[in-house]
């Protein structure tokens, strides 16, 4: 057998292996997708008949026909707005300090490791923290504010880390040339670093908030009520949110409530979708603003 024949034979085998590999990758991709599609179809089939204007505008009720999700939608919106208002400024400020101001050294390393660890702590632990700290110690009660503070703690590490990465991605030449023009650090941060990193920070924030809107465990821990037949009028009112309302309905034996839960899931998914959409639009806007 000549060397060339040997190579040809190997080439065949290499091609076959390559084909098998690409098929495996394709299957991996579709398996996730198939599960997701099944889930969506199942939920829509179950919940579609319950979805109407009444469902959106009514308060929860013991009678399935009268039950609505109004208080949960409003609660979730309050929750997200408050959480964002608390966590975004603190998170971005922390990232700025860690990346641009903090002196390099062992202390910074320890802080960094801790932030990375905090991002991986189970959310129920944050719930316990929130219960002790905000509900009891600061006596905020089972209020929106206590819930939002807890949620803000939960997503803070994610925001800090993504903002740090956004800042690190800015070329060193930008900082150097700005400093070389006699700018102070604050001027470099406000004129260049923040506008340039805003689109990526925004992405991180939206991902974090999307996680917060679907979180249930910490809010159950701090005692977000499920039967709320009124709308919160201030941050100190009791509240419920979409995932808790859904959780509550699924826990009931009657088939009608299963349908209501499915309808609730559809609403939650729509809210999530709208959030992500607005994130993309906002990000595009900022990118355009930066390019101008």
């Amino acid at each position: 057998m000549t060397a060339s024949q040997q190579y040809n034979e190997r080439l065949e085998r290499r091609r076959r292996k390559g084909l098998v590999f690409s098929v495996l990758l394709f299957l991996a991709t579709t398996s996730g997708l198939v599960v997701l599609v099944t889930l969506i179809v199942d939920v829509v089939v179950q919940g579609a008949q319950w979805l109407d204007w009444e469902f959106l505008t009514r308060f929860p009720s013991r009678i399935p026909e009268n039950a609505g999700i109004k208080s949960a939608i409003v609660g979730s919106l309050w929750m997200i707005l408050l959480t964002a208002a608390i966590s975004v400024p603190i998170g971005v400020a922390s990232a700025l300090y860690l990346e641009e101001y903090a002196p390099r050294g062992w202390l910074l390393k320890i802080i960094q490791i801790n932030i990375n660890n905090l991002a991986g702590i189970p959310s129920v632990v944050y719930g316990i923290l929130g219960l002790t700290l905000f509900v009891r110690f600061f006596a905020l009660g089972r209020s929106l504010l206590a819930g939002a503070l807890t949620m803000a703690l939960l997503i803070l590490p994610i925001i800090v880390i993504s903002a740090q990465e956004a800042l690190r991605a800015i070329p060193e030449g930008i900082r150097e040339s700005a400093f070389a023009l006699g700018a102070t650090r604050r001027q470099v941060v406000w004129s260049h670093l923040l506008p340039m990193s805003a689109p990526s920070i925004m992405t991180g924030v939206i991902l974090a908030l999307s996680r917060a809107i679907g979180e249930t465990a910490p809010l159950i821990m701090i005692g977000a009520l499920t039967f709320i037949a009124f709308l919160p009028t201030s941050a100190l009112d009791p509240f419920t949110v979409l995932p808790i309302q859904i959780f509550n309905w699924t826990a009931r034996p009657q088939a009608d409530f299963q349908g209501l839960a499915a309808a609730g899931i559809i609403i939650l998914m729509v809210v999530l979708f709208l959030m992500n959409l607005s994130a993309i639009l906002l990000r595009n806007y900022f990118e355009k603003y930066r390019a101008r």
């Binding site: 023009l181 700018a183 004129s191 930066r290 101008r292």
Partner: protein, 265 residues
């Protein structure tokens, strides 16, 4: 900054450095434990182009960045010795922000801000509190940097749309806008093609009427073309500094001769 302790007296009087715009005295510099500049003393005259040459890692860029205190932005560095401009100590009793405003810097890679041409030029002036006519300042600086004719119709277009050579001249214009009297250039032509380089060198020669220019270059022909004086560095030491013609034709040190004739480096 331990040397030349002068009983805490204020910065040296002008007479101390007669004739020298920039005076470097017994400068030592460390990156961590790495001793990269050793006892460098050098006088740089006003309204001349001074070239720093030497093989990679000889410390010429580090010295340049010591002059406008850019090295302070790098963690874990240490400096001893003095840098005087017009006889004033740039380290003791001096604000680094003020120092960097007075001593402009153009970098190796063109690095305009992701803003318009106009904004690139005016930003530095604005952050330093410039309150005058912005359009006038931008035009004046772009003219000095020999870029005005090429960009006057698109001042509000993105700076990234310019060619590399234009971007580098924009960076020069941006530096001039904060009214420095010394301009440092760290291999400003290394990312440019020969035509853009020629244009840049022409610009530099025009600038020396008003500014004191210090340029780091790897290109000895370039040093020969544009500089009045040349300083040769090797392994963190200043080997020789002299009039460029003198240094290139009759170097007094063997090491300098070996380097400029291409025997090493």
């Amino acid at each position: 900054m331990e040397t030349n302790e002068r009983n805490g007296s204020p910065p040296a009087a002008r007479g101390a450095s007669e004739g020298a715009k920039v005076r470097v005295e017994n400068l030592d510099f460390w990156y961590g434990a790495n001793h990269v500049l050793r006892d460098v003393s050098l006088d740089i005259r006003a309204n001349e182009v001074t070239a720093f040459i030497g093989p990679s890692g000889c410390g010429k860029s580090t010295l340049l960045r010591c002059l406008n205190r850019m090295n302070e932005l790098i963690p874990d560095t240490r400096l001893e010795g003095r840098v005087l401009i017009d006889g004033r100590d740039m380290y003791r009793n001096a604000d680094p922000v003020m120092v960097r405003r007075r001593i402009g810097m153009v970098f190796q890679k063109p690095n305009p801000f992701p803003k318009t041409i106009f904004e690139n030029v005016i930003w530095g002036a604005r952050v330093n509190g410039y309150k005058g006519d912005e359009a006038e300042l931008v035009e004046r600086c772009l003219r000095k940097a020999a870029l005005w004719e090429e960009v006057k119709d698109r001042l509000h277009a993105q700076a990234y749309g310019l060619s590399g050579g234009q971007q580098q001249r924009l960076c020069i214009a941006r530096t001039l806008a904060v009214a420095p009297d010394v301009v440092l250039m760290d291999e400003p032509a290394s990312a440019l093609d020969p035509i853009a380089t020629a244009k840049l060198e022409e610009t530099i020669l025009q600038l020396k009427e008003r500014y004191t220019i210090i340029i780091v270059t790897h290109n000895m022909q370039q040093a020969g073309r544009i500089s009045d004086r040349t300083a040769f560095f090797y392994m963190g030491e200043l080997i020789e500094a002299d009039a460029t013609e003198q240094l290139f034709t009759r170097p007094s040190r063997k090491r300098t001769e070996d380097y400029i004739t291409g025997r090493f480096g």
